[in-house]
Amino acid sequence: MNAVPEETEKIMSCPRCEHTGIEQVAASPVEGVWTVHQCERCLYTWRSTEPARRTSPEHYPPEFRMTRADIDAAPPVPAVPPLVRR
């Protein structure tokens, strides 16, 4: 068996919305201590060393979870104003 790093072996999913499109956005300056990941759908961002309640879909608190519908329904603040011709 090839030695495949665990990171690439299992599919990572977003703790908050369970989307599987995840980008690594940073790695610790001291090599191998942590990585920072971001969900490309809901933009949730986390460090690999955070507690499971912030990093794992199984342990993520239900009250903070998000679905595609929640994201689409997020109200604009502030609303985009109409274009004004001068």
Binding site: P51, D70, L83
Partner: protein, 474 residues
């Protein structure tokens, strides 16, 4: 000596024993936020916190809770750390009258030492970013002074705005920003978006304490935060020209980010644990693109923990909320003695006043709701007599318990405007408001039996002095 930058303020905190340097290795999460959260749970004179050994980082310096106690607030104002809250607010009011003090331009800003542009920018590498609360969408910049200009009058110095707005780090050079509609940057953004344009902004991180206080103070649209900072610090405020936008930014900032709020674009932002002690929910908010970063060598990253009050944000915005409301009320009603609007950014305010005639205190309470800040915040006003100190909550509770009769002392106004972050508002941004009149009724309001108050004995002040002396001499 006023502080021109964060570093000199940290040194002053240190010399007063008000800065804890934590040198043992900590985790970025949850240690940094938990420590700052704890600072708000260990008493009124909590120190600032300074970390320089964060796991995985080689070069991180993190300052937290720098303004998170009355002692630190007093040091920021150049006062004795033991000064009472009431006296700190009174001194703030006194200095306010020196406005405007013209800023001093100094172009040798230390943040000119280093810069990075365009796609070479990576905020995750430049700053030791970290999460504050469990439900936060990510890492936030929540103590930065954000500078923007009126797009129709970009040369008008007084309409240049400096404010603190929460920003979610969404990418190497991308932020989400929350411009609350009642704040000046939202006015600037609307003008730009109506023309289909981006709004240039400068975001300054790691600042001297006075500009942080001023950026949190609800000034009028055409009042310059820099000119007010000069008044409050009793010395011209040092500014320098940001290289990309040409905006005036603090001379002493640790880091200056420049770019634009991208016009007519919205994207999911949040939730974020807010000053209300509740999360904000997720909204679709504007997006910032960073085009240039300038920074001091070995920058200190400053952040602020907020959550269930009290936290640093309450100390930071408390006096800054009281003072303009006091000034605005006093201008119309000289009878007003003091304003304590320190509870949840002024959602609740306590006002002491003399009474001109029956019903007067209720009118003052309603007027507080129509001040610029009151429109979006003041949801409850407790009115107390001139001999009750609104900063002394046991006295306020005495007034409420003995003077207030719901039959005639409760004014309820339906469906008024309030900040949408108020979790009790329904729909968000709309709430009933109340004036709770705990003043003694005066003619022609003859309700109750208040003709025989028990007053402190005339000899008591003599004994206060005597006992204090005896205690001190033990």
């Amino acid at each position: 000596m006023p502080f021109d930058d964060l570093r000199s303020f940290l040194d002053a905190l240190d010399s007063h024993g008000q800065l804890l340097r934590i040198t043992e290795e900590v985790q970025a999460e949850p240690d940094l936020a938990a420590a700052a959260n704890a600072a708000g749970r260990i008493g009124e004179n909590a120190p600032g916190l300074y970390f320089d050994n964060v796991a995985g980082f080689t070069d991180a310096r993190v300052a937290l809770n720098t303004l998170g106690s009355w002692a630190n607030h007093a040091i920021a104002m150049g006062m004795d750390p033991l000064t009472s809250t009431k006296d700190q607010v009174a001194e703030f009011i006194r200095r306010w009258d020196d406005f405007p003090v013209a800023p001093e331009r100094r172009e040798d800003a230390p943040w000119r030492e280093n810069s990075v542009e365009g796609d070479d920018i990576n905020l995750f590498d430049l700053l030791p970013l970290f999460r504050l609360n469990d439900g936060d969408a990510g890492f936030y910049l929540d103590k930065a002074a954000v500078v923007s200009r009126d797009p129709d009058e970009p040369e008008d110095f007084d309409k240049q705005n400096v404010g603190i707005y929460r920003m979610q780090v969404k990418g190497k050079r991308r932020l989400g920003i929350q411009p609350v509609p009642v704040h000046d940057v939202a006015l600037h953004l609307r003008m730009a978006e109506e023309q289909g344009e981006d709004l240039p902004i400068a975001i300054t991180l790691g600042n001297d304490p006075i500009i942080t206080l001023m950026a949190s103070t609800p000034l009028r649209y055409d009042q310059s935060e820099y000119e007010m900072a000069g008044a409050i610090r009793q010395s011209p405020y040092p500014v320098a020209t940001a290289p990309l936008t040409g905006f005036d930014v603090p001379w002493g900032s640790e880091v200056v980010l420049e770019g634009v709020i991208e016009g007519r674009k919205r994207e999911l932002e949040g939730p974020f644990g807010e000053f209300t002690g509740h999360y904000s929910g997720g909204h679709s908010m504007p997006v910032v693109r960073i085009d240039k970063v300038s920074y001091r060598t070995a920058p200190v990253y400053e952040s602020l923990y907020l959550g269930m009050p009290w936290t640093e944000v309450d100390y930071l915005i408390g006096p800054a909320t009281c003072v303009p409301m006091y000034k605005q009320l006093k201008a119309d009603f000289p009878e007003v003695q003091a304003v304590n609007a320190m509870y949840t950014h002024g959602l609740l305010a306590i006002i002491s006043t003399k009474k001109r005639y029956g019903g007067f205190a209720k009118a003052v309470g309603v007027r507080a709701m129509t001040t610029p800040h009151g429109l979006g915040y003041v949801k409850m006003v407790i009115m107390v007599d001139e001999d009750v100190d609104p900063f002394n909550l046991p006295q306020v509770m005495w007034a409420l318990s003995s003077k207030f009769n719901a039959a005639g002392d409760l004014v309820q106004l339906p469906n008024m405007s309030v900040v949408a972050l108020d979790p009790s508002s329904s729909p968000a941004g709309v709430s009933d408001k109340v004036v709770i009149d705990a003043t003694t009724p005066v003619i022609p309001d003859d309700r109750g039996h208040f003709s025989q108050p028990v007053r402190d004995l005339p000899e008591t002040p003599h004994w206060v002095a005597k006992l204090t002396r005896m205690l001190a001499a033990r």
